[in-house]
């Protein structure tokens, strides 16, 4: 297998396999959660479920003052790498081309050096998060294999993408191939790990808000 064969494979059949596992895994899990349903609430509704649910999706994204004080590091680094991931995935021109090819829609990209900077910042914050995880006794105690796996598959595309863009070390087709492969691994691991939070997060927040809304209390 030449390196171009490898690149063609990850751009073709490899990406197809990853897409099938990703889409199937995510959809089956979401359907399962939604269809499980809840017992009918026999109490009289004291407010709207929908508006409270939607509001909570937004309000819970803003850290509260006391929890921010307690876990400043986690919240700040968490925000930084999530924003960095968003920028590198969705605002980098070649990635937008990929999305356009699959979904058919596109939007303007950020200049490449800006995306590059975001990638570096994300990598640094993810490294800091790992160090923090091991230096904090409680976090260390709570850490299991899945946490490390999820950390690894998240940072891998960032690092391989950075290396592929700057063409460090190996020849270009190999670097690009490894980058695409690392994304495919992320897609495959995604539905079976806590990475699913990217989808379930909004469902959970909505539900929390909806319960409070029904009872007529603030969420």
């Amino acid at each position: 297998m030449t390196e171009i064969d490898f690149l063609n494979w990850v751009r073709g059949p490899g990406f197809q396999i990853a897409t099938i596992i990703f889409v199937a895994g995510v959809l089956i899990r979401i359907f399962e959660i939604i269809l499980l349903g809840r017992k009918a609430n026999l109490a009289e509704a004291k407010g709207s479920e929908m508006s409270s649910g939607l509001r909570t999706i937004v309000t819970r994204s803003v850290p509260q003052a006391d929890s921010f004080k307690r876990s400043t590091f986690t919240i700040v680094t968490g925000y930084i790498f999530h924003i960095g991931l968003f920028v590198t995935i969705f605002l980098y021109a070649p990635h937008i081309l990929l999305i356009k090819d699959i979904v058919g829609i596109s939007w303007p990209a950020l200049p490449t050096p800006v995306v590059d900077a975001f990638a570096v910042i994300s990598i640094i914050s993810l490294l800091a998060i790992l160090i923090h995880r091991f230096s904090n006794k409680v976090l260390h105690y709570l850490t299991n294999f899945e946490d490390l796996l999820v950390w690894f598959v998240t940072i891998a595309p960032l690092v391989t993408g950075y290396i592929a863009f700057h063409r460090i070390g190996f020849t270009a087709p190999t670097l690009l191939g490894i980058h695409i492969l690392s994304v495919e691994i992320l897609m495959i691991v995604f539905p079976f790990t806590k990475l699913m939070h990217a989808f379930t997060l909004f469902m959970a927040r909505w539900y929390n808000g909806a319960i409070s809304g029904y009872r007529g209390v603030e969420s």
Partner: protein
């Protein structure tokens, strides 16, 4: 035909002189060759000396499943190029397209050259070799495979010219109906220099021959057999549009403002980032330009399997398969499975509720 034996004993210098090539243009040629091969200027006299005294080497050129574009590339280049100089100075003893003889006479010439120069001739091959059925491509009733194996035996070195001979090329493209393979797939016991390209740059072909004549060795090769001096850097590494790529300024179509301003052609499918060749530096048509300079993205023609990269106009970051369809079919299937799993879970939940015994007041009073 000129007297072969006289010719053979002449050195390359003699030949060039007899053709009226001045010392000055010969040295110019040597300087150009040295710089092309990335040799320091101090090496120019050595190149000149070696070339002047080189005996005209016998070259046998075999053409298999090919389009003759490689030969065209070499012979149609501008008349006064150094590549013509060098090709006037070898003894091209067998070449279908260029030789006057045909049929058995041609084969006899090949056999005579092989015998006379056994162990010393250079074998050049263009085109791939069909392995499914030898009848797909034969010359004078001899299958490509037999002819290659037979001729390779006595060769000092083999130069595979063009992407078909080096990596299978167009005949090897999916679904590869003839079972085409490259020279390197078949010959393992001889040094093979791969000079890929569809077609390869003429000066690269001659540069390799010159290297062999000058040093008597094959140039340093990369991991897929290409001379590093010519294939050491990618098109993207040397592309003059690279600053636009780095800034993220891309032409979106062939005639938009970006295209007019000479922005990067990545979005139009440029394979420059993954293609290793000398086009951006040596250029084509006597150094006039190269495809990207003419406004067309690089199609990656000197890389293995360049036809199977999902299309010339598909950007490198796009998948080569129809992922939209894959995702839609998967989503439909997954929705069905999800609903079925949901129904199963519900049934389980209901059964559990039913199985759960209700506690009555009487039970508690017991």
């Amino acid at each position: 035909m000129t007297n072969k034996f006289d010719d053979k004993n002449k050195t390359l210098g003699d030949t060039l002189r007899s053709r009226g090539i001045s010392r000055r243009s010969f040295l110019k040629f040597c300087a150009a060759t040295a710089s092309m091969m990335a040799l320091p200027p101090a090496m120019i006299p050595k190149v000149a000396h070696a070339l002047e005294n080189a005996k005209r080497p016998s070259v046998i050129w075999l053409s298999f499943q090919e389009c003759t574009g490689c030969t065209e590339s070499l012979t149609r280049s501008h008349s006064a190029t150094i590549e013509n100089l060098i090709f006037d100075s070898i003894s091209l003893d067998y070449h279908h397209t260029l030789q006057a003889a045909s049929g058995h006479a041609a084969e006899a010439a090949r056999e005579a050259a092989m015998e006379e120069n056994h162990g010393n001739y250079i074998l050049v091959v263009d085109g791939s070799i069909p392995m499914d059925n030898p009848g797909y491509s034969t010359i004078a009733g001899i299958s490509n495979y037999d002819m290659l194996m037979d001729t390779a035996k006595g060769a000092a070195a083999i130069i595979a010219v063009g992407t078909c001979a080096t990596y299978g090329g167009i005949p090897h493209a999916k679904p590869n109906p003839t079972g085409a393979v490259s020279v390197g797939d078949l010959i393992k016991d001889k040094p093979i220099i791969n000079v890929p390209g569809c077609p390869p740059i003429p000066v690269v072909i001659t540069g390799v021959v010159t290297h062999f004549l000058t040093f008597g060795t094959i140039p340093e090769l990369d991991h897929i057999g290409r001379p590093k001096v010519f294939y050491g850097q990618s098109i993207h590494d040397r592309c003059y549009r690279r600053p636009f790529y780095d800034k993220g300024l891309f032409a979106e179509t062939f005639d938009d403002e970006g295209a007019q301003k000479g922005w990067c052609l990545f979005k139009l499918g440029c394979k420059g980032p993954t293609t290793y060749n000398a086009c951006a530096t040596t250029k084509w048509n006597n150094g006039t330009s190269f495809p990207i300079e003419a406004g067309h993205p690089c199609i990656g023609c000197s890389e293995p399997d360049f036809w199977d990269g999902g299309g010339f106009y598909k950007a490198l970051s796009m998948p080569t398969e129809n992922i939209t369809q894959t995702a839609l079919y998967t989503a439909a299937g997954a929705a069905a499975v999800g609903v079925a799993a949901g129904a199963l879970n519900r049934a389980k939940k209901n059964a559990a509720t039913k199985a759960h015994p209700n506690t009555t007041i009487e039970d508690l009073e017991k």
